[in-house]
Symmetry: C2
Subunit: 125 residues, 2 copies
């Protein structure tokens, strides 16, 4: 799996690692049962701090996407079904960003185009 | 303008205040030139800490939505055009949330339905 880290991005490195893994899951590059490398070797590969990868792994574990295997790395879990509670939680986080987009003058159609474009980009289409 | 504060939400109070103002702008309840109350009186009305409202105002000012008028409150600004840079910044914040939604098993169509539903809700439709 290739995760591209942009050291000068406004997105924190731990979030870039987390996002890279999530997008790997979406594309099917990472399937349930697949192993992620140990924190130490992944950090070395990416050229980032071990604590950074550790933080990414823990956030993904808290959200049920991976299970951390001490000293060995982590495995990708079969995701929970998208429950209404889960969808509501995601929607409540997306909502202020859409409000900001609309308040700055984007039209509904522009917002939906942006969403479709992000979806295609995540899937590498 | 009515902002409903949920004290027990996982969304911080300052963010709820900010979001309420943004959504007021989207709905047209708050128009360029309209005045927002002083931090002190707004905080009293909402039953929240003055520092909370102050933080909301400053974030909205940093993003160009309002101009703070010391001791008097703030006024709503005409938003900047949604530049490509601005849209890219919003997209980069939305992207990991969509990745999470898709990784948890939502389909593209479900994600787009969620977005449309949020847009309708913001506009009070």
């Amino acid at each position: 799996m290739l995760i591209h880290i942009e050291p000068h991005s406004i997105i924190p490195i731990y979030a870039q690692v987390r996002n890279g893994i999530l997008e790997g899951i979406v594309r099917g590059d990472l399937k349930p049962g697949d192993a992620l490398p140990s924190v130490r070797s992944f950090a070395a590969d990416l050229g980032v701090n071990m604590h950074t990868v550790n933080k990414s792994y823990h956030e993904l574990e808290d959200k049920g996407f991976i299970q951390i295997v001490p000293k060995s790395g982590a495995i990708i879990l079969k995701p929970d079904e998208p429950t209404k509670e889960r969808i509501d939680l995601i929607a409540s986080t997306v909502r202020p960003l859409l409000a900001e987009a609309l308040a700055t003058g984007m039209t509904d159609e522009q917002v939906q185009d942006m969403i479709r474009s992000i979806q295609s980009s995540i899937k590498g289409e």
